[in-house]
Assembly symmetry: C2
Homo-oligomer: 324 residues x 2
């Protein structure tokens, strides 16, 4: 299977690194909207995004490594006119609109597209779907972290006097324990997660004002117990340069003629590198949509539409013999 990477940030680098492990894939090219000469890959040839149509017959699946805020809403449906594509669109509220746009383009051009690959949306969505299908009467909980939230880190960086920042989302251990016990607690936003901020301020900046602006920022921090730690740039680089993440999807549900039995289903991730894990999911999904395309399927899909067997390089016979 011939793969192209469109966009070369953390996610694109992750897809390139994943090729070492997904040995049935061949990485053909990285496409960038920057000057190709300025993009240093781990060895993959780099081309200008403008030359992408020259590769129409050389790529089976194009993995789109742009951001959900501004890149993917313009990128995915446009490229689905010419390629089989996959993205990691993660703005939950606007997934239906994104799906409709991409489905129309892919169906018209006779290509297949998959949106919202990764782990949330992605593997976490799958965990929610399996658990709720098996246990219709129950309650779902999603906890994120401990991990770096790029969106919250960016929000802190936009505050006047802040040079750099890193924000960790941390699940509250007592809330996790209560959910795992099957007691199905009602939990507020504040009871589920805390937020830890590591902030590098400009020399002479008003630290009290920065801390107050962070803690009172609506949507991002105001509804959480937030701690703010001011550190040096050297400390940030030494101790907070990784991008770990993870979390848990937990469903508690009931069975029995009078609901007398409780069950807890949990899916958890502990990730050293959020972008590399997300990339690895995208590569497995690319394998699946390439197979589905060869069977004649077109239009937009999500991970809900992919039969698990199609994600694996193993044959159905091998899967039944060794993994069932």
């Amino acid at each position: 299977m011939k793969i192209g990477i469109y966009g070369y940030g953390n996610l694109g680098r992750g897809v390139e690194a994943a090729m070492k492990y997904h040995t049935d894939c061949e990485l053909v090219a990285v496409f960038t909207r920057r000057d190709p000469a300025a993009v240093k890959t781990a060895g993959t040839p780099v081309y200008s995004a403008e030359s992408i149509l020259d590769f129409k017959d050389k790529i089976d699946v194009l993995i789109l490594c742009g951001g959900s805020a501004t890149d993917l809403p313009r990128m995915t449906h446009t490229l689905a006119e010419h390629f089989n594509v996959i993205d990691s669109y993660d703005t939950h509220a606007t997934i239906p609109a994104h799906f409709a746009r991409v489905d129309e383009a892919a169906a018209k051009s006779g290509h297949i597209a998959m949106i919202s690959g990764g782990w949330d949306p992605g593997l976490f969505s799958i965990a929610r779907l399996y658990a709720s299908s098996v246990l219709p009467e129950g309650k779902d909980y999603t906890f994120w972290g401990r991990g770096v939230s790029q969106g919250h880190s960016d929000a802190i960086r936009r505050i006047e006097g802040v040079l750099d920042a890193r924000q960790y989302t941390v699940p509250v251990p007592e809330a996790l324990d209560a959910v795992r016990s099957g007691s199905m607690p009602e939990l507020t936003t504040r009871q589920k997660h805390t937020r830890e901020c590591y902030v590098v301020a400009e020399e002479g900046a008003d630290l009290a004002r920065i801390e107050s602006e962070i803690k009172n920022m609506p949507n991002y921090f105001a509804d959480y117990d937030t701690t703010v730690n001011f550190i040096t740039l050297d400390e940030l680089r030494a101790n907070h340069s990784a991008l770990p993440h993870g979390g848990s999807v937990i469903r508690s549900g009931k069975t029995g003629l009078s609901g007398e039995h409780n069950h807890t289903v949990e899916f958890s991730l502990a990730l050293d590198s959020n972008p590399e894990f997300t990339s690895s999911v995208l590569v497995a999904c690319a394998r699946a949509i390439d197979r589905m395309y060869r069977r004649g399927m077109t239009g937009c899909k999500t991970i809900f539409d992919i039969a698990p067997a199609d994600l694996s390089p193993l044959s159905p016979e091998e899967l039944r013999a060794h993994m069932l």
Copy 2:
């Protein structure tokens, strides 16, 4: 969707109870090889297994609730000649032979069949498949328990002087911790699980001999640290009549250009009632194979072949809007 239950033990009772929650299903009949008058259901009409062919046009999916040792190897392919069927065949080593037998019968009769639904094989298999497809370089671990193993309980009951017994499989906490840490330890059978036995002996039986026979039983107990507790029949009934189970599938894997990042993926179940949870999985899978049959699919399938969306009563639009 019209459901029939074939075989009315713990699993069949579980399917009947699951109908309370899976409200898009209608339970038409229970079929038994015993005298129907002697089978007390929670309200479902009971018919002799001999009359099953009278129901050919009245049932969309027949859920086979027999055992893997002797029932299902004769039952599933025979009934697949006349019905869409699903079973929970769980003898891992002979799944390929069972699959081949059922596939031939179902393909020939134009029906769809699914084998090995439940949680292991079943949801645990799915967890192994997703995790290994995303992280090809890594190591899988499966822990079972704390839970009742019916096979091990039966093995104890066959010892001379034993009236009744209940065996719990218990994961070793230190082994679980080591695996969750991502250290990818090599673990022996003995290091992963212990076995706890609660045994009711006949009056005057030689307890030392019974204990020794249990602890030295090949395959079942000899490779484990086993504890044997002699209790009264009243204690067994009061404290050990439930059928809890569960466990964890954990994969640790690497990503990065030089394998520098570790990731841990875990899927865990804590079940008050093993048969009721297994039944609930079977009902969700029955929904999926009914849909697949209506699309023209025939032959034998496993949970690997089922797109997750087909398990849910929700529409694809609802799933994308609320669960992705």
